[in-house]
Every structure is written in structure tokens, then in C-alpha cells.
Subunit: 404 residues, 3 copies
Amino acid sequence: MTPLKLFVALSALSAASHAMAWDYVLLDTDKAAQNWQITSQQLGIKTDKPFSVTLRTLHGGRQEGVSIVDIDNGTMKLSVVPTRGMNVLQASVGNVRMGWDSPVKEVVNPSFIELNGRGGLGWLEGFNELVTRCGYEWVGHPGVDNGELLTLHGRAANTPANKVTLHIDEKPPYAITLRGELKEQAFKKVDFSVATELVTEPGSVVFALNDTLTNNGDYPKEYQALYHSNFSTPFLEQGARFAAPVKQVSPFNDKAKGDLPDWQTYRAPTKDYDETVYNVVPYADAKGDTLTVLHNKAGSLGVSVGFNTQTLPVFSLWKNTDTQGQGYVTGLEPGTSFSYNRRYQRPLNLVPTIGPKEHKQFRISYSLLTDKAAVDKALKQVSEIQDGRETEVRQTPLVDLTKG
Amino acid sequence: MTPLKLFVALSALSAASHAMAWDYVLLDTDKAAQNWQITSQQLGIKTDKPFSVTLRTLHGGRQEGVSIVDIDNGTMKLSVVPTRGMNVLQASVGNVRMGWDSPVKEVVNPSFIELNGRGGLGWLEGFNELVTRCGYEWVGHPGVDNGELLTLHGRAANTPANKVTLHIDEKPPYAITLRGELKEQAFKKVDFSVATELVTEPGSVVFALNDTLTNNGDYPKEYQALYHSNFSTPFLEQGARFAAPVKQVSPFNDKAKGDLPDWQTYRAPTKDYDETVYNVVPYADAKGDTLTVLHNKAGSLGVSVGFNTQTLPVFSLWKNTDTQGQGYVTGLEPGTSFSYNRRYQRPLNLVPTIGPKEHKQFRISYSLLTDKAAVDKALKQVSEIQDGRETEVRQTPLVDLTKG
Amino acid sequence: MTPLKLFVALSALSAASHAMAWDYVLLDTDKAAQNWQITSQQLGIKTDKPFSVTLRTLHGGRQEGVSIVDIDNGTMKLSVVPTRGMNVLQASVGNVRMGWDSPVKEVVNPSFIELNGRGGLGWLEGFNELVTRCGYEWVGHPGVDNGELLTLHGRAANTPANKVTLHIDEKPPYAITLRGELKEQAFKKVDFSVATELVTEPGSVVFALNDTLTNNGDYPKEYQALYHSNFSTPFLEQGARFAAPVKQVSPFNDKAKGDLPDWQTYRAPTKDYDETVYNVVPYADAKGDTLTVLHNKAGSLGVSVGFNTQTLPVFSLWKNTDTQGQGYVTGLEPGTSFSYNRRYQRPLNLVPTIGPKEHKQFRISYSLLTDKAAVDKALKQVSEIQDGRETEVRQTPLVDLTKG
């Protein structure tokens, strides 16, 4: 892999000021994924801690041929899976792990998954990531809509990316950007492409996703997106808390009604709990930005998930506090939509349309909150966004699931 | 890849006269596809223009691992996809392209396609070829027949070929023959093999398919075949015309009734047009050969599709003159059958049977008509086959689709 | 592949006495399958006949990327397919072949199979092995149970194995052990792993499977297993016989009723016979071990299939004596269950449960009976296990298949 030194415009506002940057093609039509690594030392970059990006391929079982990009920014280690929709498999800082322990231990090549199996739940045979992209034709529970079985949470997570590239800024803070494109295309049905982008900086405990959905077709199309962001211990524990600026919260279904008073706190791993889900309409600041926080009981460790509500107006809180083996996990899920089947979401105005050649950007940032000060600061931000505005706690689900 | 020089009998009639030939195995059980090329220069052949055959593999996205064979006969460039049923992806002469622009941009590895998805329309997630083989257990629209969901147009296009070989005659005109075998096998269900063959000659603007379906089983079996041959600009345009010797034409469905008077002419790209389909029973000459022609409005450029009606007795004209982005394309589709679900075609006697160990040959030739003289000559041939015989324009579809 | 010489405890009872052994990793997360061979000569082992183990990869068609492990123990040649559930493709001693001729000629990569296709019969597109693992979430005919379509015979046969290892004892009889792990995992659904093991000894005409199913989950789960062991000529022929210590036999369905009086003898290849199946409850010895025998008409050649009834309490005799081309084959199938859809087997108490972290072992041994003496000896064992106990010949199927 030859490093290409390119002059890249850093911003549209300063097109005249150019900076050097390193750009690498990791995977392309004429370039097979192969073991490869680049380090800050090789680039002659001096940062507090050296960083590196590594490409490797998994073998054996249902993970045969799966590519993984490991980004070690010196502080945070991230693993991204080009073969699975550029999903973020996990991230960690020291021994603090963002992510969870799914029963699914392999990083499963989509070629071995039938999304239409198990009545449209085949997706569950590969689900184990920290961030799993859901969409973009649809998200939500399986079910028939317009005469077609929509499988759980769409196809994005099981769509391998093409043209995966790595970009490293050549001046401080030496931002590291990994890009991969997903194509959701079917004749007569859909012509979407999703330019995914993951950005982190050397030494940082933050990473951000910046995805651009494009409707390449000539017709407006319905679309949905949901970023299934999943955390477990050490954040999730008995007494852990969730915070967000909330305009409205409601139980996803009848089961979630019972725990509604405690929707912002978590149980210990609980046998037979299965899951409860709460639908949240968040408040945002003037720019549409909002912040959600998960922290441990002591408030000494947490994560925040920030996103822009202009394109991701709603949020699902998935509380799967069942046993460790079954999957002790909570999902913080910004989306265009909740997790109902698409046919239920049209009446809620949560099935937006993207015009021909139109773009939609989805920006989500994930921060590790490493100590009480960081947690408190994030909670303060939440509070500032809420700004004293009222929260409607709706007692009944938005959707009557007993009706087809 | 070592060139094997073999003595090959050129014909059964002259078994005594042998000619040299070059034979190469491109892909086999013990031979992985790998980048490779042979050129006329390497073979020491002097033709007006040099020719070459190239094998390459695609990477990234849903096209990971797809093999492509590029044949450049000196005049026409052809791309064949062993991984997708030996389909012809595209052909071109100079800047004249046979083929079309599907929203599906990748050459999709069947391992990433669920034909049973989208209610049996999963096939649409990979459809983008100039010639897509449909069959051979069934063709037609998805639907249940004999208690089984038949997915759109069968499995052939999503069946990777094994034992792909290249044969180049060692004497003029140095015919280039690419062969690949498709196996459609399922215990208790079917034991078909299809020996596919694509032939072209250096400098020619013609290529031909010569496929042999064999029922290896001990029982007679129903089969169907349809060669979905798809063209767009520069042939397809407002005022472009289709010509064929027609015994009977009928609208595929109620929608096609409205445009029946103009069934042989084409619209410009038309928003919300979707498609109309016309079912054609062609006349043929004494040997069963017939010819169909598509040409531009000026009659200065066209393509002809010739086939033998003994095994391909009917023809579908698919007019998908929707917008460019949606897919502005027309299909000239010789077949054993029309595009109805198999259960509708039995009463039409369009579900033939192949006996145990029996072979069926399907021969289709594709010619670029590079100028008005070539178009006129082809139209004259059409006229000679019609030979003044009557055309029945049937006003109503052959099938009442409102009945199960 | 570097041979690792390890000290391995030969048994828990003699942990103090260690023996040398050779251990090789053939396939693992960070180790791609590649052509490789080890021979007894290379190991410096002197056996009557040299033995070898070979790893190879198939290419082309639907078998692209399939790994095969060939074990030649000097007398018996075995082929195992890691990519297909560690199934035993075939075994042979000289020109005597254990296995059968399926219409499916390729060793099909599961990535090209939709188990949910053909109404849940997609499994038939890959079925051609001597031993096909069925299970472990379910076995049996396709059908809806608990609202989910269970596809034919479960997913094991189409689950590629990870971490495939070879172990050769360093002291006589130099047992050769091939291991591979199957993961059947889906969030919320199942967390099984199956440690498969195939053992043979140099010069032997026997091989054994020793599989351990583990429920890694926190909840008890239903499971089913069935070892679909398939034989044809030279054992199967007109007048060939099946013997077993039988407590109860019953016809699988109405069709099998007619041939019940002759259930232990076989027909010649018979046009339109299709199949009959008999459900057998075997007697076993005090340890639970039982033996079933298939031998030719002359009683001069046979195979025996032994298994332990503590985990495999029932047995299906599948008599598919249709034509050679259709598949002339009989299945000797030890199982937890018969071949009905799971919903029919609960009332029969044939859907066992495996507790959290519990293991279930399945042991099956396959012996070639090379002459009359060997056949007679096996039949004597069958008789000794029967030990004069009564056989109930039940005239009607255990399940009324006309009821949902």
C-alpha cells in the first residue's frame, strides 16, 4: 500500500489554505483486503502516545473473510468492521470497554446470514457490535409493510462496504478518518448509498460518526436510520442511570409500562427480564444538537452519545437487563424512527422521505466519561439543553401493537 | 496458467482433419480464479486488430470475490461474469455500449443475495447485466406453485459457474469460445446442468450464446429458460423501434393494454412509466431461426437478437422506459415461456419437460448493427421471415392475473 | 504450519503419565485454510501402512472456498468438510465406498444456500454426505413451530467450523483426531457450541464421532440432534438387510405403513418409490450402547453404526430406494428425535432440554464390515443386545400428520 501524499482542502471556508495529508486505500474494487499497518512512527508524527491503524482478516466459521480495521489512537482502541456495514465492533480505553458481550461471539460474514430467516429475525445471528447501523430503507421490528416482509432493522449492518479509505491529517491534531461506502441498491426498489465516516483524534476518548445518505434515484423514497449503540458493564450496573433532555417519553409496549417510573435507572442482571424499551423525544439546543448520558451508579464513569436531532429526531432507550449470558446490555439509539415496524411509524410521521439526489447527514459522537468530573460535565450539558422545559411522561405506548 | 496446446477435432464431419487450438482452464475445482491474461500477440496470431482475454477478480462490498472475464476481440469488448451464471455484463464497440445503467452498480456475489427476500424479488438486488440468464427450473414472477415460492426468474443468474475454460481456434477466424458450467441441483428436486458457451470472433461485432441444458436425473422434469437481454441508449430513445416477425402479440397485463397500439415504438425516459411488457409469438424460418431488432429513431444504429424457436418459442418485449436513474431499459427476451409465474404458464403450454438425460440447446446471437445499412439488412431479414404472414394483435392478456 | 510438540495428558485417570503428541491448527481466526499435508513418514512413525492428513480448498461454482480435510489412515480414506459442519463427505476402503451418489455433486459452501428457500427445504441443495449433522436447535421436516419456520434438519450442516485442529497421538496406535467447533448463536435465541471430534486409527476400518454440545447460555433450551448417516451400494441392494435390537418400530407416515412387513429389507432401485421411513426405538446394553447393521444380501459386506442411547435414544431408518440417479440411499439415523417437525415431537417427549452450561455428548461409531465373519459378528452383537426382548411392531404412525 503506497502512501499517497495529497493536498487536501481542510475546509470549504479556507479552500486557499491547503494542508498535507496521508490517504490510503484499504479496500477497493481492484484491491483486496490484506494485512496492513501504518503507525505514527512510520509517518514521522510525534504525538504524546504513538497511534496506529491496522487492517486484518478473520478466518474460520461464519467469520471467514471478515475484514477488521483496528484504530489505536494512543488512548482509545477501536475496531471497525467493513464487512458488516462499517459497524463499530468495540472501543476501549485501558480496561474500560465500550460495547457488550453478545452470545454471538463471531464477527459474522453477512454471506452466512439469512436476514429473512427466523421470520425476519436473522439479523440476530450476527448482532454483537458497540454500534450497529440500522437502515436505511427501513428499521424496526420485522413485519409486512406494503406486501413485503421487512426484516429486523434493515440491511445496513449486513452490507459489506466497498472503497474503504483511511485519511490522516498531516497537521495536529492529526485527525484519523476512516471511510467506507455502503450501497443499498435493488432495481425498481432503492438506490441509496451511504458514505460512512468515523473520526477520532490521537489521544482522544471520543469518536464520531458522520454518515451521509444519498438517494441516487430519480424518485423520492422513504428511508429510516437508527444507530443501535450498545453498552454494558462497567457503565451498566444496578443503579446505573440514563440522562437526556426529554420532551416526551413513553413505553414502547405494554411490558414497558410497568417499569415506566424507573425508566432512567437500571437493574442488575435480572433473570427473565428480557427487555423494556422507552421511546424518547429529546430536546435539543438551537443547532439541534442534543446529548444523552449513561453512567454508573457512583457517577464516576460513563459514556455520552451526542447527535443532531435535525436528522435524528427521536431516540430509543433499550434496557435489556437480562443475565450476563443472555446479554446484559442497554442500547442508546438515536434515529429517524423508533423500533416499530415501518407500517406503524408512518402515522407517527417517523418515516421521512429523501428526495432524488438529496443527502441526509447523520452525526453521532461517542465520548467516554472517564471520571466524575467528566460525568458531571455531561450531565450539566444535558440539563442546559433541557433548560427547565417540561417532560411529558406518556403512560401508554404511541402505537397499539394489537392492531395490525 | 500454462497454455495447453491440444489437438481438437473441429467438427464431427471432419474428424480426420485436426486443427491445433489453445485451451485454458480459468477456474476449476482445484484451480482458484486469479489475475491472468492471454493476448493474440502472445499466441503469435496476426489479426487485423490484436485480441485478448483477461481474468480478474472484484473486491469490496457485495462484489467481493466476483470473477470477471473480459474478452476484447479487437473490435468488441465483452465482460462475462462466471460468478453470476456466466451472465454477459456488458459489451461495447468503441463508445457504443450494449447494456444499460441499472441502479445496481456492483456486480453482486450471489453469496450476498437472498433470492427469497422481498417476497421473492431478491434477484433485483443483483440485476444489471446485458444478458441475464433466467431459469432453468423456472422463470417468471415470484409466486407459489406446487406449494413452493418460486423466486423471480429462477436461480441461474445467481449460480456461480464451475470449470470455466477458454478455447481459441488456432486457425482463422480464430474463434474465441468461453465455457462455464452451471449446476442446478437439489436432492429430490432437480439435477440440471447447463453447459454455457459464449463465442465471438476477432474483429466481429457479434457474439453468440450456445447453452446446453441437461437433465441428469432419472425423471422427466419441467424446465423454463429466458434470456433477459437488456439494452438502453444509444439504441433506446424516443421513437426507437422494435421489429420482429410476429405471429401474435398480446399485452402482458392490463397496464400494457393501453400502449398496445404503440407496442413497437419507445418513449423517451418517462417519469412514473414503470414498465409495459408485450408477449410475442414470433414467426421463424424453416429451420426455426428468427430475428428481432431494436434500432434508434433514425434507423442508423441497432442491435439484433436472433434465436431458434424450436427451444425458445416465445419472446417478451419488456419496455421499462422510466427515467434514466430508475432504469431506462428494454428487454428483448427469447424464452421457453413468458414472464408469468410458472403456475400461469402450464395452461399456455409454456412449461416444457426435459426427459431423463435429455439435452436442450438454446442458441441466441447478438449483433451490433453499426449503421443504417446494417439496420436495414436486419429489418429485411425480419420481413423475409414474416413473409407476409398475418400478425394477430390480441387485445387482452393471455392470463387473467386476477385469478390465483 | 509448524508442528507443535506438546505434552498431553492421555487420560484424567493417569494425569501423571504423559505422552508426546502432535497438534496442528489447520484453521483459526488468524489462520486461513491453505493447502497442507502431514504424513506418518514426516513424523517418523512406522505403521504397517503409511498414513496422512491433507487440507485442501475447493474452487468454482457453489463450492468456492470450501475446505476439505482428507484423512488416509493407511486403510480407510475419509473426507471431512469443515465448511459444512465437519460433515463426513465420504469414506472408503479400497473400492468399497461408504456414502452415496447424491444429485448434488458439488460440496456446497453454505454461503450459497438459503435454508429458508423452497419452503424451508433449501438444505436439499447441499445434501450429499455420508454423515450429515442435523441439529442442534432443531431437526426434522420444515414447518412452523412457536411462530418461526424451522428449516429442514437445522443449521449444523451449513455452519462452517472454526478452530479446526488435528491431533496425532505419538504412541501406538497413533490415534488421529480431527476437531472442529460449530457455533449456533443468535442473540435472544440460542448460544450453543458443538465441539466435534472425529477419531480413527492407522490401519483401522472404523471411525468415530464424539460431539459435545454445550449450552453456553443462562437458560435451559430445547435442542435436538440427528446423525444422518447415508449408505448406498455396495451395501444397499435388493435383498440387503437392516438389523438392530428393536424395542418398537413404527411407520413414519401412512406411506410407510404399506411396506411395514418388509421394513428390514431393501428393494432394488425402484422407480417412483421415493422413500419410506421407519421410526425405531432401540434396545441397548447396560451402558446404553446399541448397534445397528446394514449388510448386503449375501451377508458378506456391511456397515455398522453404533451409538449411545442415553443421548441418542431413537433412530430413523430412511429407505430412499428410488433410482440411482434420484438417489438410491438408506439413512441410519441415531437421534434425540425422529424426523417430524419439532412441534410434533414435544408430545412424544423427543425434544430434550439442555441446562445452562450443561454438556451433552453424542457418540457414534462407524465400522466397515469387510467380510461375512465381520457381518456375522456384528449381527451377533445385535442379537445379544436384543437378548430375547420383545419387539413391538406398531401399525400406525406415532404422529397424526393430518393434524397441524
